[in-house]
């Protein structure tokens, strides 16, 4: 048993660190570190730099620009992206639709879509959730009806993250409403957002941000060549897509980075005769978060190390454990930052460039990030769904 990395792995990590710190603009990294919203340009800039460095799509097949990395190297990569406050390359492209096309797409689809997906010349959105299909995703109602060489799409998707910037959207739609099991009648279809009948409407979340959208499909004509794999097999591809998220589900690097900022800022925040860091109760809260995070980090490392032993289809409760604990700790970290900001968490940020922030510059982003991060225990299979998975698939209840 060995917790430490090998010298080669440490060298690999240092190389990544150097690249991230040298190549990604400091201003973008500062925004990520403070938990501010990134605009379209920030995300695209960071993504394209990573792509130019060969670091946007490491989990893709090598022939399509992926890396032949070990599970440990993949883990180090994700850790370092997050720990250095680098925006993750757009997950809809690199973690979701890219691997699905690479694994289940036709040769023509690969040629057409993979290069621009890797380089972000196509910006993808995810069309899964619907107003009536959240945790019960298979209950989705959007339909795709075959008419000659086209599907006709009708329905509504929601929580479409960054859909306002998207060029294309990958959609789960019902192609066989009569299927015996509702999972069996779903297809995975690629849709050009410029198609007539596609409407995007913003949803403003409680942090005041425009991050998610509703997307409406009204008699949208989609060529049949945009179907991925086989008709009515879309659920399998969706499950494959969601399982790819496993390596990043705990977001240990994110929480480490946030807790490091919490400590740093607490040390410069006046309180009583000294600073907030002198407050034993505050430090105790930080200690609890750091201890939980250390345990999670090792749980994650155990999962990474176990990848070389385990058959991919064997039930494994670890990703659910990582999701539950990972989201709880991310929420603890963002909550601690609100505590550090204290009274300066309260004012709404000014959008005028003439007015300086009321408190320390970073403090105005603390409350919105805390508000925004209530999402992490809801999305990606809510924590209650994760508990169901553990109970049914692993505990045999």
């Amino acid at each position: 048993m060995e917790l430490r990395y090998t010298p080669e792995e440490i060298a690999f990590r240092e190389e990544l660190r150097r690249t991230f710190r040298e190549k990604i603009p400091a201003e973008i990294r500062r925004k990520v570190s403070e938990g501010r919203h990134l605009d379209r340009e920030d995300i695209a800039t960071a993504h394209r730099i990573l792509h130019a460095e060969g670091l946007a799509t490491p989990n893709w097949p090598v022939e399509w620009g992926g890396k032949d990395w070990s599970p440990v190297q993949r883990y180090i990569y994700i850790e370092e992206v997050q720990a250095n406050a680098v925006p993750m390359p757009l997950s809809f492209n690199v973690a979701m639709v890219g691997p699905v096309i690479a694994n289940f797409g036709s040769e023509a689809q690969k040629q057409r879509f993979l290069p621009p997906t890797a380089s972000l010349d196509i910006w993808w959105a995810q069309g899964f959730s619907e107003p009536g299909a959240g945790s019960d995703l298979a209950g989705l109602k959007t339909t795709a009806k075959r008419e000659g060489d086209h599907y006709i799409l009708n329905g509504q998707k929601t929580w479409t993250t960054l859909g306002q910037y998207a060029d294309w959207i990958f959609v789960l739609a019902r192609t066989n409403p009569a299927a015996e099991k509702k999972q069996k009648g779903i297809s995975f279809i690629l849709v050009d957002m410029k198609s007539p009948g596609v409407t995007v409407r913003p949803i403003i979340t409680i942090d005041g941000a425009h991050e998610v959208n509703e997307v409406f499909f009204d008699e949208v004509k989609v060529p049949v060549e945009n179907l991925i794999g086989e008709e009515n097999k879309g659920w399998d591809y969706a499950k494959f897509l969601l399982s790819n998220e496993r390596n990043n589900i705990a977001r240990v690097g994110f929480s480490k980075e946030k807790l490091a900022r919490v400590k740093e800022r607490a040390k410069e925040t006046p309180a009583g005769e000294g600073t907030l860091w002198d407050d034993a109760d505050f430090r105790r809260r930080v200690a609890i978060a750091e201890i939980e995070l250390k345990a999670l980090e090792i749980t994650q490392m155990r999962a990474v190390a176990a990848q070389r032993h385990r058959a991919a289809d064997k039930p494994d409760p670890t990703s659910s454990i990582l999701k539950i604990k990972g989201s709880e700790i991310q929420q603890m970290a963002t909550e601690l930052m609100v505590t550090v900001a204290g009274p300066y968490a309260v004012p709404m940020p000014s959008h005028s460039h003439n007015e300086p922030p009321v408190g320390p510059d970073w403090a105005e982003a603390a409350a919105p990030l805390f508000f925004n991060y209530r999402k992490v225990s809801i999305y990606g299979g809510s924590n209650e769904i994760q508990r169901n998975i553990i109970a049914k698939a692993f505990l045999g209840l």
Partner: protein, 380 residues
């Protein structure tokens, strides 16, 4: 980064698990051991010796088997699962650990062979878990020493052949310097011992030391330098306790799951209720987090730098404590009335876990250690 057991470690685990299954598989046997004079079975202890478990954590040069904290972790997990009552922690991990750290190879032989047991006598009426709070005194007398004082809640102190006693050779009651460790034969003149059972089925003793005369060789380690040794061995013991807790939590979780799949109410198994399922899932999350921190503790237990070791071990115990609390209480609740009976095993796991939480410092104390150290260093 590697979490696999070596071939030797795997074999060790198999043989310890087999020993425990044989010795404790029938829970009635545990009651039998407890009724023996020492509170455990000398026969079973001899089996530990035969299997080499008593020599596990000592270098081969000292007559041991060259194991370390990972091997101790494997044994202690099995101890936890079995709810074993043998004094492995106090005699081998702590007693033996002190002998090893102090370089007392001369005494390791009788420990390894099972001829002698050791008990750690540090707690005093006022000290709680402050190892440096020592009112017991040792003064020089000729070539040797004379000890006076009292020690409290000494695990297996009544039956131990040797007591390892902390006593003050200089300074004031709560000074960190001036504490020395002494090996005191259990039957030495001036030692009186009153043994009693503990809540979790073990044995402990109150010990009086009245003008106990000891030879020069009774001093363990350097005069006045006992505290760093004690702190190091207690960190090793804490890592071992984490492992014991993981073993007990794992077994208790399994026991609970079995019950949830059998017990029927309203015509269905109670494990089919979502309110129950989610709590069982949370127990698993707590168990796996504890397992991770126990591995971390084992990796850090022999780190000679207290500034790195102490917060790491404290973090592990704090997290394991929180998991043990959750799993212990939830196991009782999910079982319902049956777990309230002395006859059923679940309550005994709960009691051991509840007492273990307070052994060598409760959650608050360990959180304070981490907080005061300014947090945790990155793992890799």
């Amino acid at each position: 980064m590697d979490f696999d057991l070596t071939e030797e470690q795997r074999l060790l685990k198999e043989s310890v698990d087999r020993l425990m299954a044989g010795a404790y598989g029938d829970f009635e046997k545990r009651r039998g051991y407890q009724e023996e004079a020492k509170g455990y079975s000398p026969k079973l202890w001899a089996q530990y010796a035969e299997m080499g478990l008593l020599g596990l954590p000592f270098p081969e040069a000292q007559g041991g088997f060259g194991g370390g904290p990972l091997e101790t972790m494997i044994v202690m997990e099995a101890v936890g699962r079995g709810l074993a009552v043998e004094p492995y922690l106090t005699s081998v991990v702590i007693g033996g650990g002190l002998l090893r750290l102090a370089g007392r190879d001369d005494l390791i032989g009788e420990l390894v062979g099972g001829e002698a047991t050791f008990a750690l006598a540090t707690t005093e009426r006022q000290s709680r878990d402050d190892l440096f709070d020592v009112a017991t005194t040792a003064r020089r007398s000729g070539e040797g020493w004379v000890l006076d004082g009292a020690k409290s809640v000494v695990l297996y102190g009544e039956s131990a052949d040797h007591l390892i006693v902390s006593a003050r050779t200089a300074g004031q009651r709560r000074d960190r310097d001036g504490i020395s460790l002494f090996l005191v034969p259990g039957d030495a003149r001036g030692v009186s011992r009153r043994g009693y059972p503990t809540q979790d089925g073990l044995r402990a003793a109150e010990i009086q030391l009245e003008s106990v005369q000891l030879p020069a060789g009774a001093l363990l380690g350097a005069e006045g330098g006992g505290l760093p040794l004690l702190e190091q061995v207690v960190d090793i013991a804490l890592a071992a306790l984490c492992a014991e807790a993981v073993g007990a939590m794992e077994a208790l979780h399994e026991l609970t799951l079995d019950y949830l799949k059998q017990r029927k109410q309203f015509g269905v198994t109670i494990g089919s209720f979502q309110a129950v399922q989610h709590r069982a899932a949370d127990m698993l999350v707590a168990l796996e987090q504890a397992r991770s921190m126990t591995i971390y503790a084992a990796m850090m237990a022999e780190n000679p730098d207290p500034a790195a070791r102490r917060p790491a071990i404290a973090a592990a115990k704090a997290l394991v404590n929180r998991s043990a609390e959750l799993i212990g209480k939830e196991a009782i609740q999910l079982h319902g009335g049956i777990a309230m009976t002395m006859e059923y095993k679940a309550g005994h796991y709960f009691k051991r876990l509840s007492m273990l939480i307070n052994q060598f410092g409760d959650t608050d104390r360990h959180l304070r250690v981490v907080a005061e150290a300014g947090g945790l260093e990155p793992a890799a």
